[in-house]
């Protein structure tokens, strides 16, 4: 089959302009072993007030993508090779470092998997929040301190006045994550990026942090991008989902579309590979054979094809492009291309939705 199959590249669904839109982002890392194509043309956008989850396995480029949004890619070895990141109408990749500093923290807040990477061990927690406030707002130290204590109170740290004077090592893991959230929200950013915010926490503490994020989002109307590999967390938090594999977006849609009508075979397999509390035990899990591809030499065709039970000849030859198959639901898979005579039937079948 011809490699150059023309198709309509997707246009973002109509309606108001998204708060953030990433367009054809390409990021590589230049290592001794060669160029790692970490992000290979990623596009997704998030609407104001929405909570978007980015899911995928390690090395799929989900973290590198949001680090590019924050312009936190270490250069060298990393380099943003192409694409645009439009945040509130401006292209983040065209900003100077100085302009970027007023975006980071003030307009976009970020929390990390390991709260210790975001907290300074030599400063008390209150002062760290004050530092963030004073940097972006014209307030005096005393007002800033008051606000810092208020932020700690908002994230439900008990005894915030005393706790503000303590150092990160005096906090437990869950409290450090709360402190990070307080710091990230201190300047009321429009967008909060949470990179695996609960992965290092115990499940009862994870539950507390998720409650907190949901409540804050509702109260502050905040937009959230959460990166996680935990599909349970996604189900609880997200209303939109982006599924990534080997440096590309393979499917995106609303939470119900992705969970109940997954179209890409990878999404489908991913959903069925996790055991569920409400399911019968000791049945075989759907496993995906093999491992993700080597991104030193990205495959010519679809990166998932070698592991895909539905792979066709074309999948090894050329990569599929995103096709919008229903409102807000895009998938990059040849099964649904109009040149596949069975495309309509595949769509009718709707991937094979999870049995309920």
């Amino acid at each position: 089959m011809e490699t150059a199959i023309e198709g309509k590249a997707f246009a973002p669904s109509s309606g108001e302009a998204p708060l953030l839109s990433i367009e054809d982002l390409q990021v590589s890392f230049y290592t001794y072993a060669g160029e790692v194509h970490a992000v290979r043309g990623v596009s997704y956008s998030v609407k104001k007030g929405s909570s978007l989850a980015v899911v995928g396995e390690s090395g799929c480029g989900k973290t590198v993508t949001v680090q590019s949004v924050m312009r936190l890619i270490p250069t060298p070895p990393g380099r943003i090779k192409g694409g645009r990141i439009i945040f509130k109408g401006k292209d983040i990749l065209a900003l100077s470092e100085k302009e970027m500093q007023s975006v980071r923290g003030k307009e976009i807040g970020m929390i990390f998997q390991d709260p210790m990477t975001g907290l300074n061990p030599t400063m008390n927690v209150g002062s760290q929040i004050v530092e963030a406030i004073v940097k972006h707002q014209r307030v005096d130290k005393a007002t800033a301190w008051e606000k810092a204590v208020k932020m700690l109170e908002m994230v439900e740290i008990p005894n915030p006045k005393v706790r503000a004077l303590q150092y990160p090592h005096q906090y437990s893991g869950g409290m450090r994550q709360r402190a990070m959230i307080a710091m990230a929200l201190a300047c009321e950013p429009d967008l909060l990026i949470a990179d695996e915010p609960t992965t290092s926490l115990d499940v009862t503490i994870q539950s507390q942090i998720l409650d907190l994020l949901l409540e804050l989002q509702e109260r502050l109307g905040m937009t959230i991008i959460i990166i996680t590999h935990n599909l349970g967390v996604v189900a609880r938090l997200a209303n939109e989902i982006v599924v990534m594999y080997a440096g590309k977006v393979v499917e995106q849609g609303t939470s119900s579309q992705i969970f109940y009508r997954p179209l890409h075979p990878y999404t489908h397999a991913l959903l069925r590979s996790v055991p569920r509390l409400d399911r019968k035990t000791r049945t075989a899990l759907a496993s995906i054979p093999g491992t993700p591809p080597d991104l030193f030499v990205p495959p010519k065709g679809c990166a998932f094809a070698p592991r895909c039970p539905r792979a066709m000849k074309v999948c090894l030859e050329a990569d599929a492009f995103p096709m919008e198959l229903e409102k807000e639901h895009q998938v990059s898979c040849w099964l649904y291309h109009e040149s596949n005579p069975r495309a309509a039937m595949e769509l009718e079948k709707g991937g094979v939705a999870i049995e309920r």
């Binding site: 539950s207 409650d211 609880r236 055991p275 509390l277 000791r282 999870i354």
Partner: protein, 318 residues
């Protein structure tokens, strides 16, 4: 599953003395059994003592008190020289496939080492057994001459499993064997373990923090909290009728990957955090966070009791 017991743990305690005043009670009076061919899952949050239980049973630690009866023999205080038979029958699979394989050994040396220690095979037979073990875990003979760093996490875990199977054990303790792996790879390893367990009729202790995964592969599940076993029941039963308030909270905190169910769930979120196992307070360890705590819970320690056939719980509510 037969009624015959593979392992009986009675009042097991493992304390670590930190200094003159502080003792870490990692495992504090835990009793349970594992039947032959049965999979017991042990679940709990960090610091609950689940790993210490596994390691103490495998006699990587010497118990502080209590008894461990393996295959009818008391191995609680057996000397290392008397444990060779036991080490052949019980093997461990560890969490971190990066740390548990010697980076300077080839795969065939790693898998062959237990064969040498127990003098099970030499020469051509040894090489054949190594190849056979590799194929059982889904690797191929050409992997034998490679080093651990040449493999992905999932493949390393397969090497660790092949090594554990080398001596043809009857009992395996797997301590968080999949938590460092990606979701799709986790499913591969879990399916492999389940298949091996069934084919070989292995008895199994599967230790993990992920309740849905533990429940998935186990016949029975034990829930631990700060050194104590708070509930043990069949894996269907524990989901449908959890009794201990901590088990209920753990169940409730575990998100289900289904947005409609998730959004409709009433959730029991626990306040506070897991207390320290260092010099624990008297009374039930969970009393400080328990929504149903009574006066009695602060002073007395509940015992693990069988409240329904096969369903054990330690809680004064029952």
């Amino acid at each position: 599953m037969s009624a015959e017991l593979a392992l009986e743990v009675k009042n097991l305690k493992k304390y670590f003395r930190l200094d003159r005043r502080r003792t870490l009670k990692a495992v504090d009076d835990v009793s349970f059994t594992v039947g032959k061919g049965e999979v017991l899952g042990i679940v709990g949050e960090s610091g609950c003592g689940k790993t210490t239980v596994g390691r103490t049973i495998a006699r990587l630690y010497t118990p502080t008190s209590g008894s461990i009866i393996f295959d009818g023999k008391d191995i609680t205080s057996a000397k290392e020289s008397e444990l060779l038979w036991f080490r052949r029958k019980l093997q461990m699979i560890f969490q971190d496939p990066y740390a548990s394989l010697d980076p300077r050994m080839t795969v065939s040396e790693i898998i062959g080492e237990p064969l040498d220690v127990h003098r099970l095979a030499t020469g051509k037979e040894r090489a054949e057994r190594i190849n056979h073990l590799l194929s059982i875990v889904g690797l191929s003979p050409e992997h034998a001459s490679r080093f651990p760093h040449e493999f992905s996490g999932g493949q390393r875990q397969r090497i660790g499993i092949a090594r554990a199977l080398a001596v043809d054990p009857e009992f395996i303790i797997a301590d968080e064997p999949i938590s460092s792996l990606d979701v799709s790879i986790q499913a591969q390893i879990v399916n492999l373990l389940t298949r091996l367990q069934e084919e070989r009729g292995l008895s199994f202790i599967f230790i993990a923090h992920d309740l849905s995964m533990v429940r998935h592969i186990s016949h029975r599940v034990g829930v631990m909290y700060v050194g104590k076993m708070v509930e043990i029941a069949g894996s269907e039963e524990i989901y449908k009728h959890p009794l201990n308030p901590y088990t209920k909270a753990l169940m409730s905190a575990n998100p289900i990957p289904d947005p409609d169910i998730e959004k409709g769930r009433t959730r029991l979120t626990l306040p506070g955090e897991v207390p320290s196992p260092i010099n624990p307070l008297p009374g039930c360890r969970f009393a400080g966070r328990c929504p149903q705590a009574m006066e009695r819970c602060k002073h007395e320690d509940p015992e693990l009791k069988e409240v329904e056939p096969g369903h054990w719980v330690s809680c004064f509510l029952y």
